[in-house]
């Protein structure tokens, strides 16, 4: 009898442990997959929420109580305004006949204007809001966020999915500033001597913002275009794709990129794929002077050799002098990108590489004296470069056939 009573009590506990007060019908929830933040002239926050359209045939939906949903687009973008980023999101509920969930947001977009004014309020929301995960990607949009989100993206069901794939895969081979989890940038904010970077996406003319278009005529809607360098939470300026590649070479996290160089002794070009890069830097103090020594090691593979006359040229890759010279040229080209990146960051006055953080870690007592003046010290910091290219791979043939 006692066991039976115990079992009954346990069964009753199961009933009341299902979270009745928080029960929400799945059919009444709509999950945002991208959040775009902007700011208007009055300082009001604008939020663009991208939702998969639950009744669109493309998302497997259909009419619940009659009526046609055949022409419903696969995604819906809702824009709302509020005095704070969170109010702007909650105001969106005025237009949406379902409960908004942010648990499945995969991409955060910031407008250039908001990034220049400062992302602090939005970052605070993103870190504080329980539903949002900081393992998602983020971009700064050059152009109109709403146009981007309402455009039809080639090869993808939604612009957010397309951008996410572009960030995760395309950026890997383009050398553009590529995205990692948004947390990777946020942890830099309180760090001494380390600033944020966020990938730039430029909206292209192919983005029509009407959600329509013939499939065969779809044009790319956005392209990766380097990235933004921040000081604190404010955007200070852009890094071009070459500068972004230099940035990632220094960080040691660039997987592959392509360079177009001149064949030694000719006016012809060859394209190399640079891979297996190992980039690092270390802080040094020599005769009381601070300096950073950047070291990059890489391997290169030739993809094509192209003559000016568009005919194949007799480049003798079996000649060691030629391959040595080619290696040196690749190394020189890599160094140029490193210099471009460092000079650009110094020009903007923002230590996106974490040189200051490296001094803080290696020379904590010296750092205590440098900390307050670091932005100025960084602008004039001496940087030395060492680039080694270990091998040139010819592909499947040694020498072009004339």
């Amino acid at each position: 009898m006692r066991r039976f009573a115990f079992a009954v009590i346990l069964a009753l506990l199961m009933l009341i442990n299902t979270g009745c007060w928080d029960y929400r019908e799945p059919g009444e929830i709509v999950h945002a997959i991208a959040l775009g933040f902007d700011i208007d002239d009055d300082g009001q926050y604008i939020v663009h929420l991208l939702f998969p359209n639950p009744v669109s045939p493309a998302t497997g939906g259909g009419a619940e109580t009659g009526g046609s949903t055949e022409n419903q687009p696969p995604t819906v973008t809702i824009t709302s305004v509020g005095q704070t980023p969170m109010l702007a999101i909650t105001n969106a509920a005025l237009f949406i006949p379902r409960n908004i969930s942010l648990a499945h947001v995969r991409l955060i977009l910031f407008s250039t204007r908001l990034a220049r004014e400062g992302l602090a309020p939005v970052i605070d929301l993103l870190k504080r809001e329980p539903e949002i995960r900081l393992s998602i990607n983020s971009v700064i949009v050059e152009g109109d966020i709403k146009t981007l989100l309402t455009s039809t993206t080639p090869m993808e069901s939604s612009p957010a999915m397309g951008l996410n794939r572009l960030l995760n895969l395309g950026a890997d081979v383009s050398g553009a500033l590529f995205a990692g989890p948004i947390l990777d940038e946020f942890v830099k904010l309180p760090r001494p001597g380390h600033e944020m970077t966020i990938t730039r996406v430029t909206v292209l003319s192919g983005a029509k913002g009407d959600g329509g278009g013939e499939a065969s005529q779809l044009q790319p809607t956005a392209m990766l275009n380097g990235g933004g360098a921040f000081l604190g939470t404010k955007l200070m300026g852009w890094l071009s794709p070459r500068e972004a590649a230099g940035y990632h070479l220094i960080q040691g996290d660039l997987r592959v990129y392509f360079k177009n160089l001149i064949v030694p002794g000719t006016e012809d070009f060859f394209t190399v794929e640079i891979r297996q890069m190992a980039g690092s830097f270390k802080p040094e103090i020599k005769d009381g002077e601070l300096q950073i020594r950047i070291s990059v090691k890489a391997r290169a593979a030739i993809h094509d050799i192209v003559g000016r006359s568009m005919e194949q040229v007799p480049v003798l890759l079996t000649d060691p002098d030629v391959t040595t010279s080619m290696r040196e040229r690749v190394a020189e080209a890599i160094k140029e990108d490193l210099v471009l990146a460092v000079e650009r960051a110094q020009e903007l006055g923002t230590d996106i590489f974490g040189f200051g953080f490296a001094f803080y870690r290696k020379f904590p007592k010296v750092w205590a004296e440098l900390e307050n003046d670091w932005p100025e010290i960084f602008k004039k910091l001496k940087v030395e470069y060492e680039v080694e290219v270990h091998a040139i791979r010819p592909g499947l043939m040694f020498t072009p056939i004339p």
Binding site: N17, W21, D22, P130, R133, L183, K188, K365
Partner: protein, 376 residues
């Protein structure tokens, strides 16, 4: 009539789960609070402190075999003084369980069940634990046996997946601010070692009580290893400057790490492990409280006290703190350590002093013969 016994292994599981639960739920906040990237050094030092406190708190139980701290306090100090200090220990049982419940309810209520009544969440947890206490310590021991493998699996998995977001640079420079912040960061974990007071009530119920203190020390050592791993990983993932401002660093870390684009949302592991640990935690302290009070009142059975005590537990958990900031204020090193010292460590110092004086003066009272706890 039966005598309730638990094995030493079950005691090990119980103490490990209790101590690890509080560590994973809140501790990195305090270890990264002052020590920053050196939290792991503070954690290692705290582990030694926790092991020493287990020996300090549990040691007298070996001198009075078969007696709980409530019983040998009266034996050492006399009926009234013993009762006075016993109330102090009973308050510690009550306050620990109420505070631990409150923190977990805050997580559940604040992150998942935001519409659900806070009191209701606490009541459900206390009722479930009270049922286990009603069934007896053997039931709690078996529950620990059943839950421990899952608890350990979830904790180790949590720690393992967190490695994917780990950056060694976040732990540098080592000891740049000297030993001061590191030493001050050991205060909170040593204060949290108060959880080991359960040992003083559970040793008499052990199959091999003479090894009870060793088991307690082993549990603290194992929990200290978990603490150290958490203190390496949390600042290693978030950076020390970021990590110390998080409300639930361990939970947030698991929410954030994404070893692959497919496998993520590992926070469920920490919530499950935490829930298992909290069930054992509240059940054990409710058991200790009810046994202690029944001994103080001269009752043969603790079960009539469980219901009323569970109600008090709920009221204290709900009303002791206005909000989570109140809980955090209690956990500040300059508040927690003096508080625990006053209610626990100093009374035990007095008990040890009286014991040593009476031992050397040959006035040590004889331990009354006891068969163990009897239940119908």
């Amino acid at each position: 009539m039966k005598v309730e016994k638990i094995s030493n292994r079950q005691l090990l599981f119980i103490l490990f789960m209790i101590q690890s639960t509080i560590i994973l739920s809140t501790l990195p906040v305090f270890t990264t609070g002052n020590a920053d990237q050196n939290a792991w050094i503070a954690a290692i030092m705290s582990t030694f402190g926790m092991v020493a406190i287990a020996a300090y708190i549990g040691g007298l139980s070996l001198k009075f075999p078969g007696l709980t701290v409530i019983e040998y306090s009266s034996l050492l100090l006399g009926k009234y003084a013993g009762a006075f200090f016993s109330f102090s220990f009973l308050w510690v049982f009550l306050h620990i369980a109420a505070t631990d419940t409150r923190i977990y309810a805050d997580l559940i209520g604040g992150q998942f069940l935001r519409e659900t009544s806070f009191t209701f969440i606490i009541t459900v947890m206390v009722v479930l634990s009270a049922l286990a206490v009603y069934m007896g310590i053997e039931t709690i021991g078996r529950a620990a046996d059943a839950l421990f493998p899952w608890f350990l699996l979830f904790v180790l998995l949590s720690l393992g997946v967190s490695l994917t977001g780990f950056d060694i640079q976040n732990l540098q420079p080592v000891l740049a601010q000297g030993w001061g912040p590191v030493l001050s960061s050991t205060a909170s974990p040593i204060g949290f070692a108060a959880h080991v007071i359960a040992l003083t009530m559970l040793i008499p119920a052990l199959n091999k009580p003479e090894k009870g203190v060793t088991v307690g020390m082993q549990a603290m050592l194992a929990a200290g290893i978990i603490l150290t791993m958490a203190a390496v990983l949390v600042p290693g993932v978030f950076g020390p400057q970021h990590g110390k401002y998080l409300r639930y660093p361990f939970f947030t870390m698991l929410k954030t790490v994404s070893p692959t684009q497919f496998f993520e949302r590992f926070d469920v592991l920490s919530v499950l492990a935490w829930g298992f640990g909290l069930f054992i935690d509240v059940a054990v302290y409710l058991y200790c409280g009810s046994i202690g009070l029944s001994q103080l009142m001269g009752l043969r059975d603790n079960r009539p006290l469980i219901g009323p005590m569970a109600v008090i537990w709920v009221i204290v958990a709900v009303s002791s703190y206005d909000d989570i900031f109140d809980v955090l204020r209690l956990f500040q090193p300059h508040v927690l350590l003096p508080y625990v010292t006053t209610f626990l460590y100093l009374p035990f110092l007095l008990l040890w002093l009286v014991y040593l004086v009476r031992y050397f003066t040959g006035t040590l009272p004889a331990v009354p013969a006891k068969k163990g706890k009897e239940r119908s």
